[in-house]
């Protein structure tokens, strides 16, 4: 460890920050997309519409049985094939993350909705709201409030998972660091630095999630 060379990190800060931006952008877009699709899936499952609910359940179980890397490869292969022209890996990776994470978000959101007492739905219906209105104005707001810590934890998991874009070479934080590491032959410094940066973000996030959890409990 004696010849740990910090300069390789400081000299490449702008390049690394660009990579970090990609990581964050991907995380934020995937969280939004995953939550929207996940909510739709959860609502379909809970509404118990004959075929649709079964399909939503099948979707969730199917995606949860696959490795994320395989889904990334699938979309990386499929998206250009469907569009008939090459697109940047960012979009195919983003679609992969949204489709994949929606399955996990859907389970969280379904649990959150189930934790709202069923009397609330009956009450909403009794004052003349339609079923969608009851969900929109009464059930979902309560469900989401109780889910915030778990949703944040899942966002941290997703933040870590974005490192898997490595397999298609999208220049996120890890890939940027790896490019420098190989160019300057400074693998030890760069990978340790990457680990520390990820740790700081994730640890801070998980502490905040725990804080929210406590606040909710009281």
């Amino acid at each position: 460890m004696g010849d740990f060379d910090y300069s390789v990190i400081f000299n490449n800060i702008p390049f690394l920050v660009d990579g970090l931006k990609v990581t964050f952008l991907l995380t934020i877009l995937a969280v939004i997309g995953g939550m929207v699709l996940g909510t739709i899936l959860a609502l379909i499952r809970i509404a118990q519409i004959p075929i649709a609910s079964w399909l939503a359940a099948a979707y969730v179980n199917f995606f949860r049985s696959l490795p994320l890397i395989l889904v990334i490869f699938w979309l990386y292969f499929l998206v250009p094939l469907f569009l008939g022209r090459p697109v940047g890996s960012f979009y195919s990776v983003l679609i992969a993350f949204v489709l994949f994470e929606a399955a996990y978000y859907s389970e969280i959101i379904r649990a959150g909705i189930s934790s709202v007492r069923s009397g609330q739905i009956a009450a909403g219906r009794a004052i003349g709201l339609t079923y969608p209105q009851t969900m929109r104005y009464i059930v979902l707001p309560q469900a989401f409030r109780s889910m915030v810590p778990v949703l944040l934890t899942q966002a941290i998991v997703l933040f870590q998972d974005t490192s898997l874009v490595y397999v298609v070479g999208l220049k996120d934080f890890l890939v940027s660091a790896e490019l420098i590491a190989n160019r300057d032959q400074r693998l030890v410094e760069m990978f340790v630095f990457v680990a520390i940066v990820y740790f700081v973000f994730c640890f801070a996030g998980s502490l905040y999630a725990r804080h929210l959890q406590k606040k909710l409990a009281t």
Binding site: R64, L66, L70, W74, F191
Partner: protein
Amino acid sequence: MNYNWDWGILFREPYLGWLADGLFWTVSLSLCAWIIAFSLGSVLGIMRTSSSRILRFIGTTYVELFRNIPLLVQLFLWYFVFPELLPDDAGRWVKREMPMPALSTAIVAIGLYTASRVCEQVRSGIDAVGTGQRNAAKAIGMTERQVYQHVLLPNAFRIIIPPLTSEFLTIFKNSSLALTIGVVELTAMTRQIEEYTFQGFEAFTAATVIYSVVTFSVMFLMRIVERRVQVPGMISAR
């Protein structure tokens, strides 16, 4: 969309053999990593619920450290960084002379990572057994070791079978990360088939089907086990 279908490719040599090899390495890697994850995770889980402050601190630190760094980064740390920190001879042994360096590294990295997750499940299982049982066992004069051995652990492990099953399946899925350091497991094999034949559809479908079938079979089997050993009186027991 222009695409020439050829499902027969999956049943032709050498591709069928590649898929079988890939599945073999995926399963071997998963099982070996699970042995590490389960044993270390159980020890850590016990440490986190023990009465000793130092043991609890070690357990907590381990979990926070391993849970907050992406698995892929950990894999690279073990593969590229760890050998450099060792004395020259030991470093060289880990990098090259050890049997199957990439596979062994992947097993250790994925095992240690998952141990932090197993630890949390074991801890919640022990907590779920309840302080009442712990105090009752202490009151009849059991030592802490006996309390764990005869009261807490036998119940806790039965309670946490479902979450442990999903942790095992997490290992099974995460084993695909090993391809980044050159282990040719199932996902890597299908990628290779795609590159050789340009039949990506068929290759990825094969992997998808294999992963799903294994996952659902494990879940099905474990549900039977779970029903057999469930602890009466718990809400999860139906």
